[in-house]
């Protein structure tokens, strides 16, 4: 547990000691702000539905960018040799890394609270429940994407490759819901269950069902498990 914290804090510091975190936070805020305010005063609705629709799309590129260096960078500079020869398990290492990326994503999400405040001031009949569950859903989807990004970062030592693979896998999860037409009807229920959108839409409607929570927990668990395995496999080559 303590080791996870050590890895986590080192990684957070690494984010903020480089331009990475600032660039991420600022651009994330600008893009979301632009798309939100663009239409917010035109449509005359007291909700953040537009924001909640945009953020998952922005995530598609931003989260793989945040996570691409997590492990690929260590493999590239060779510092992975320090880590794997220290008395620390691969799981502690991977979880610490994942939590660091996830924290940065939460900070980015936190920056959009400014729109929420705008809404509270200018809006009427604000549905706080829906807003809360909307943010909750975005946090969950951020965790799922971050676990995918952590995994793609572990299978290569090239950060660009990690990024591209990350975008691809995240995109597959994102689009699964929209590709149901092309899937044999017998499989469509299954594919739909795998899709991120399906679970997110439930949550953003305010229905926080244990099935949806289990789904996100399993996605995160599955990809972190793969990450641990992929680091372990390096020792055997």
């Amino acid at each position: 547990m303590r080791n996870i914290k050590t890895i986590f804090l080192r990684e957070i510091r690494a984010y903020f000691n480089s331009p990475m975190a600032y660039i991420f936070l600022v651009i994330f805020a600008i893009i979301n702000g632009y798309f939100f305010t663009n239409t917010f005063f035109l449509i005359n609705q007291s909700d953040l539905r537009i924001l909640f629709g945009i953020i998952p799309i922005v995530y598609l590129f931003f989260i793989p960018a945040v996570s691409m260096g997590l492990i690929a960078g260590e493999q590239n500079t060779g510092t992975i040799e320090i880590i794997t020869t220290l008395p620390i398990t691969n799981s502690e290492f991977v979880i610490g890394k994942f939590l660091a990326a996830f924290t940065l994503i939460l900070l980015g999400l936190g920056a959009t609270v400014v729109h929420f405040i705008t809404l509270v001031y200018v809006g009427t009949n604000v549905d706080y429940g829906a807003l809360f569950s909307g943010y909750f859903g975005l946090a969950l989807i951020g965790a799922a994407y971050a676990s995918i990004g952590t995994f793609t970062s572990s299978i290569t030592e090239n950060q660009v490759v990690a990024f591209i693979l990350g975008v691809f896998v995240v995109l597959v999860f994102y689009l699964m819901d929209k590709m149901l037409l092309f899937v044999p009807s017998g499989l469509s229920g299954f594919i739909q269950y795998l899709s991120v959108e399906y679970h997110l839409s439930n949550i953003s409607r305010g229905v926080i069902d244990s099935r949806n929570l289990i789904y996100f927990a399993s996605v995160v668990g599955f990809f972190l498990f793969l990450t641990v395995q992929s680091i372990e496999v390096r020792k055997w080559r």
């Binding site: 050590t6 008395p87 398990t89 055997w236």
Partner: protein
Amino acid sequence: MTGLSKNFGSLEAVRSIDFEINDGEIVGFLGVNGAGKTTTLRMITGFLIPTGGTVYVDDLNILDHAYEIQKQIGYLAELNPLYSEMSVYDFLEFIADIRKIRGKQFKEALARVVEQCGLKGVVHRTISNCSKGFRQRIGLASTMIHDPDILILDEPVTGLDPNQIVEIRGLIKELGKEKLVLMSSHILQEIQVTVDRIIIIHEGEIVADGTNEELMSNFMGNVHLTMEVKDATIDSVSNIESAIPSVKFLNSEPKNGHQILHLEYSRENDPREELFKFAVDSKWIILSMNPHTANLEDIFRSLTVTGGANA
């Protein structure tokens, strides 16, 4: 360790290596580039899993107890990877934290390694702004922060200037008094002056193992003696073998009116005293007498250039 081996695909990097090291021993791992030194060290530290065989540390098997073994080992990797965006202090604190050295203990450990590795003045510098020599010492400091029983140093003195090399050498010797130190190098002189015992590895196999002296006596041929003498008659020269049986006469050549004699004798019985008496009796005047013993370098060359196994 027993029957340790490692294959990379079809390449056999290390083939069935066996050796045992005890506390208080400084062992040098010597071999040309690509001999399998780093691969072997990486298997000992748990960075690579052996294809065959295993490593034991105090009866603990690396395959099952990597975590416990890694607690006792301090490992300096060959390329000395460091988190270059961190400050020296933060980096050492990070390593110490994982080693469960915190608070007051860390302050003490930090003071110790800063002193030992000569890091005073750079503690709060960012690692990327440190010179190669300092980076090497930072790496060394990070391997010693938990005062490990076993130090594994892969080419510890690369990139250091001669003064620093002498310092680090002294440090390694000091540490080796109570700890087990296993260091690798492809620089023979380095190994020779630092370690108690040398293991020469070539193409993934151990070709020699012993102290400096043992290696010398095992692998060295006869001593070749060059004598420059004046007033040596042909008769007296041809008598030399019968007068001193342990000497073998090779040939002689004239030089500036003197004679250069090439002689050979085995290392155990040094006949130089008798040779001197013989020369006096034969009324020679000895101008010089130079024995040439093969040195470790010759041994290393013969072992690693010619394939070595039967040298």
